[in-house]
């Protein structure tokens, strides 16, 4: 029994001695890898429009983008603004289609008749 245990220890010692170990230098070696990210597009600045001197006498459109089940919010916003700023004309309008659809005719109308826009809302 003792001989068997001794033999096992010798074998284990020999195996351990010959098992290659990673050198500290290998773990510290620096490697070069490629960047996984794609190419970002350039951003073209859009200058912001000049603001109004005041809201008095102006026409401001409130545009409902018609996100599902949010009508109460835009109607209430319209009501509150009318109450607080009675010398401003507040026009509540629906945008054509759902919230993802453009409405160039409405934008044309706003440019012709309006002075400012409040756009809302999702979720």
């Amino acid at each position: 029994m003792k001989i068997r245990i001794a033999c096992c220890l010798v074998v284990a010692l020999v195996v351990t001695s010959f098992t290659p170990k990673p050198s500290p230098a290998a773990n510290d070696a620096k490697i070069t890898v490629l960047n996984p990210r794609g190419i970002l597009p350039p951003i073209q600045r859009i200058p912001m429009a000049e603001r109004l001197n005041s809201l008095e006498g102006k026409t401001i459109y409130i545009i409902d983008t018609k996100f599902a089940r949010t009508r109460d919010f835009v109607e209430t916003l319209h009501e509150v603004l009318q109450e607080k700023f009675p010398k401003t004309t507040w026009i509540l309008r629906d945008k054509r289609g759902n919230y993802q659809v453009d409405d160039p005719d409405l934008w044309k109308e706003i440019k012709a008749k309006g002075h400012g826009v409040i756009m809302g809302i999702g979720h």
Binding site: P36, I46, R51, L52, D72, F73, T76, Q100, G116, M119
Partner: protein, 438 residues
């Protein structure tokens, strides 16, 4: 035109980021508590007369100042906004530090990746005849977001990271070339599916047998994973709150239900999916699908399986979707064919013609028809007599695009160990040639 958008608080990071990327970094925004959906007028009034939760100022004041406060000189500028440079190589580091760097910079899906060394990427690139600098496509998280571009080499980098073998690369390039992100940014948590057809499946040892849709094939798993890494790193998706908004997310995004159709197990007369989409049987093709979820069903009854599926579609598939995809085990497909459905299309047509709409769902979305029904106008008055538990004989399906007029897709895969089938709300987005990228 002076404009202020009103946005709910949860999307602060999203809209700030999009305003910057659209070239209006100083955009004036007004925030309200989230959500406003289904909030009655009294709560809406409280929100509007209260404070903007982001700025902390009264919401009405933020609206007024947004329209009237003079614009800063910086916000009147034109020209380009500089983006951070994108070096081809990252700064050399130890492997351990690079692993952490990739995690810290959100370049991964959270699992360990294979570091994309020049040697490994070069080996990947040998699997295609296309030049490393050739542009493959553009991808974006969803429509409002900017699109990023990418080359063959950039796709190879992500394929290496996913653990893919070079022989999978043409299939991965075909997916990338579609520009379809696997991490679509919507507040609902979209999932994606990639179905492979043609010789490619056998060539790269994809699994269409037992466990086809599970984690039992290196090719299925790593190709699907590569799509997610590409969507993050090349398509700009996957930053929660900014470029990913799925409220709960979905575990299906990890490797995107990715499997080949079991073409050799198709019943006689049933065409493989890629042939249905206009390709030749000898073409290698990947078809991409979009949806949310799948049910895995087997119901053993005296009812024939084609009617079990019909019943499931009618009664359990009751949300407002109008498209469906069935993934049938070969046993199920053969039973359906034996019941007289000579083609996939014939069975899809049967489903369209024989699935009505549960009454409660029908009336919820048809207020005008409900009014007519109450006035005695047929056929609506007759529908109303069926009661809340009735089935209105109007299918919600049959509004597919292109050649698939049914809106119902049928795919066959699996190892024939049991008569199971998946049904779900997935719809076909596009199919792309893999051979083009060899």
């Amino acid at each position: 035109m002076p404009t202020v958008p009103v946005i709910t608080q949860s999307f602060d990071e999203l809209v700030t980021s999009i305003a910057y990327k659209k070239g209006i970094p100083g955009m004036r925004m007004v925030f309200t508590p989230h959500p406003v959906t289904d909030r009655p007028p009294d709560i809406c009034r409280r929100y509007i007369e209260g404070k903007d939760p982001v700025s902390g100022k009264p919401m009405i004041d933020v609206i007024v100042s947004g329209l009237t406060q003079p614009v800063a000189a910086e916000d009147k500028q034109t020209g380009l906004i500089a983006r951070p440079p994108r070096p081809r190589l990252l700064e050399p580091m130890t492997a351990e530090k690079l692993d952490q760097y990739f995690l810290d910079n959100d370049y991964t899906d959270g699992f360990p990746i294979v570091l994309p060394t020049e040697e490994k990427v070069a080996a990947m690139l040998k699997a295609t005849s296309h030049r490393p600098d050739e542009m493959v496509g553009k991808m974006r998280p969803s429509d409002p977001h900017e699109a990023w571009e990418y080359t063959v080499e950039m796709v190879a980098v992500n394929a290496v990271m996913a653990g893919a073998k070079p022989e999978y690369f043409p299939a991965i390039l075909a997916m990338a070339s579609t520009g379809v992100t696997s991490l679509f940014s919507s507040t609902s948590s979209f999932a994606r599916m990639a179905v492979f057809n043609g010789p490619i499946a056998k060539e790269i040892k994809m699994n269409s047998g037992i466990g086809a849709m599970g984690p039992f094939s290196h090719a299925n798993s790593t190709i699907g994973r590569a799509w997610t890494l590409i969507s993050k790193n090349l398509g700009g998706s996957g930053k929660p709150g900014e470029t990913y908004l799925g409220s709960q997310g979905t575990p299906l995004n990890f490797s995107n239900i990715c499997f080949p159709e079991a073409e050799s197990e198709l019943p006689k007369g049933w065409s493989p999916l890629h042939v249905q989409k206009g390709f030749k049987p000898s073409d290698s093709v990947v078809s991409l699908f979009s949806g949310w979820s799948l049910n895995n069903v087997a119901w053993f009854s005296s009812m024939p399986i084609h009617d079990v599926i019909r019943g499931w579609l009618e009664h359990f598939f009751s949300t407002s979707v109008s498209q469906a995809t069935f993934i049938l085990d070969p046993i199920v497909a053969k039973d359906i064919a034996a019941a007289g459905f000579a083609t996939k299309e014939a069975y899809a047509d049967y489903l369209v013609k024989n699935t009505g709409t549960p009454a409660w769902l029908y009336w919820q979305t048809r207020q005008n028809e409900l009014k007519k029904a109450k006035e005695g106008v047929e056929p609506f008055a007759g529908y109303l007599k069926l009661g809340d538990n009735g089935v209105i004989p109007v299918s919600r399906f049959g509004r597919g695009r292109g050649k698939n007029r049914s809106g119902i897709e049928i795919i066959v895969t699996g190892g024939s160990t049991n008569a199971y089938w998946f049904g779900g709300d997935f719809s076909h987005v596009t199919s792309s040639s893999i051979d083009k990228w060899r």
